[in-house]
Symmetry: C2
Subunit: 130 residues, 2 copies
DNA sequence: TTGCATTAGATGCGCCTGCATGTATTGTTG
DNA sequence: CAACAATACATGCAGGCGCATCTAATGCAA
């Protein structure tokens, strides 16, 4: 892969990331009181199929630092979308569980999220002659 | 493009962005006292071929808000890498010029930047049998 | 020209992030 | 077991970002 291709690939990532994350942040927070990262965490927990997750596990899934994820989970807990529980096996650890309200909020926001993604990654061609 | 493809494409962008921006931030700031966005601005000014740029023009090029870009340019100016000048034609406006020191800093950081990009977008295959 | 909408850029503010560090617990080594 | 390294998560802190707003200058209409 040539240097020009590499640079081009990176700039494409930058552009798509900027447009998409900005739109997601706006749409999700306006219509569902969720930030992009909040949605991302809920989504991974819904899709993961497990009932409980470790904090670091969540952080890895959404590409956040452990500290950012710890605070993010605290925000979600405060909003009633997840809850934290002590891990009996390793009492340093914490389990994070998604609540029914968390599942509901994720389900409600899903269409908004997907609509933004499609507008960036699969834009519908404009019909000619408007 | 199916919904699954769209979601996959977005997650790929998220992953690449996280890994690359994190690495760039670390490497550039450690070796060249530059943040990723600072480098990006210098690069666009070097490549653009113009001698002066409007603030909004720079903001668009690097996908930053006007306010973020205004502060970023202030940091670069403080570091002596660009300078700001009044725009005679429209006295609301400001011209941003890259200095020789700015060009030098960009040139010095270029190899580091490209090395990070290659490590993510064109990783060299590990020779077998280590 | 006067008055008002618009535009360029700077700045106050609050939020989120990563890094460094703190606290508690677990593992390991002598 | 005692001492110490390692691990899991929380938290203090500083920095960057976007949004809203402010100021100054411009453009346009009456």
């Amino acid at each position: 892969m040539s240097e020009r291709s590499v640079v081009h690939a990176w700039r494409d990532v930058l552009a798509k990331h900027a447009v998409t994350s900005c739109a997601l942040e706006r749409e999700l927070s306006e219509h569902h009181q969720l930030g992009m990262s909040e949605f991302e965490v809920l989504e991974r927990m819904v899709e993961g199929g497990q009932d409980k997750y470790r904090v670091q596990e969540v952080a890895d899934a959404v590409h956040l630092s452990q500290s950012a994820c710890s605070r993010l989970i605290a925000r979600l807990e405060k909003a009633g979308l997840v809850c934290r529980g002590m891990c009996e096996a390793d009492r340093r650890g914490v389990f994070v569980l998604i609540t029914d309200e968390g599942r509901a909020r994720h389900a409600a926001a899903l269409a908004t999220h997907r609509a933004v993604l499609e507008s960036v990654f699969a834009p519908r061609p404009q019909p000619a002659g408007i």
